[in-house]
């Protein structure tokens, strides 16, 4: 089973040189720490920044410079600041190549639910609906099962959905899977020590297993 950090590490290997990337809150934020040094990529913060740098030093904390998770941040050489309209223009216009975000549920046709649980206080979708409706490549980082043991890879989402037919890849604590264009979760890699049978038993949606499934190389 992968730790959260290992999920982030595995996702980081999907990143390609020259990409503009939006990282959601939680595990996706950790991905930034594992992007290979030889890749030039740019991280977007949808509140109005391209080129997210590391967290600031104590002396450089600036209340006027935060990320979409409201954390204080820094910039890098070549960073640029802009309005929310420009920011979501970039996102909707397909200029941000890759979005990595968390999910409560993903369905076998790539629907994602990650913003609302009936009966609980609704906090809002923030920028998630724009992001999942727009990027050509969307990777979900999440646990394979919920805390009470239910599969989060479903035939159909049970929670209110955030977007349809959008998730392309999923990395969980158990596996790396691709969502097939015709529907179904194609198992690509197993987490070290996790069997295909365990993944199958914990995947409610259609799991496609073809040939030997290698272990992840982290």
């Amino acid at each position: 089973m992968l730790s959260k950090i290992q999920i982030a590490q595995r996702i980081a290997k999907e990143i390609k040189n020259g990409q503009y990337i939006n990282l959601g809150i939680g595990i996706p934020t950790l991905v930034a720490n594992y992007i290979p040094d030889d890749l030039d990529v740019v991280l977007q913060s949808e509140n109005g920044l391209l080129g997210i740098g590391p967290f600031p030093t104590e002396d450089n904390v600036d209340a006027d410079l935060i990320n979409a998770g409201k954390q204080t941040i820094s910039m890098v050489d070549g960073s640029v600041l802009f309005s929310s309209a420009e920011s979501f223009g970039m996102i909707r216009g397909g200029h941000v190549h890759l979005t990595i975000l968390g999910a409560m549920e993903v369905s076998e046709n790539g629907d994602i639910a990650n913003w609302k649980i009936p009966g609980k206080m609704v906090k809002g979708m923030g920028g998630a609906m724009d992001l999942v409706a727009s990027a050509e490549n969307i990777i979900v980082a999440m646990q394979h099962c919920s805390k009470d043991g239910k599969s989060k890879l479903l035939k159909n989402c049970s929670l209110p959905i955030t977007g349809i037919n959008c998730v392309k890849k999923i990395v969980t604590d158990l596996a790396y899977l691709k969502v097939l264009p015709e529907g179904g979760f194609k198992l690509v890699e197993r987490a070290p020590g996790v069997s295909v049978e365990e993944i199958r038993s914990k995947t409610e949606g259609r799991l496609v297993v073809e040939g030997d499934i290698p272990e992840m190389d982290l």
Binding site: A63, K123, G124, M125, G126, S134
Partner: protein
Amino acid sequence: MINKTVKDAEEATADIKSNAVLMLGGFGLCGIPENSIKALLKKDISGLTCISNNAGVDDFGIGLMLQKKMVKKMISSYVGENAEFERQLLSGELEVELIPQGTLAERTRAGGAGIPAFFTPAGVGTEVAEGKEMREFDGKLYILESWLKADFSLVKAWKGDTAGNLIYKGTARNFNPMMAAAGAITIAEVEELVPAGELDPNQIHTPGIYVQRIFQGKDYEKRIEKRTVRE
């Protein structure tokens, strides 16, 4: 050049009455019109509709207006940092309309730019699309969204001039430029107010044409929600 200067937040907000529709700039607590909010808190008004990406926190920003029960309806993309907000929402005192963040930004931009409606992919297939017109372009589905406008827009900038031209700083820009354009009356507060002619015409984020009143704010707290530093 037309001079938009007023004395302070009290003068700027004097004619904001109960049941007005307000836009308030800011993302979280970053770039919020602190002075104008404080001035509103001194007024005996209620029934406000507030369009703002977030709703502040319990003891700052729009959260203080919620405490005083001045707000009838919030139109936002994310409102999750606020216990009093939750109480009023669950009790039915407060109405909330949640909008995808990019759609909120674009609807506001449309309000200022005279575009009554546009198609966006955000929310297709979700409850956001319910009751909305849907149409396919180049094989992809989009929903029709309409413009947003306000009786008053309260925005915050870093520098401004007496002609109403504004420059924001860092990520405090966020929704402020679109809201400045979408308000029938736009009230801008700035950290530094200079005479027209001192700002570089090529480096202004909000042209003064959108701003009806401007004043130099004071005592900015600029609270940080999540102070995060390098280890």
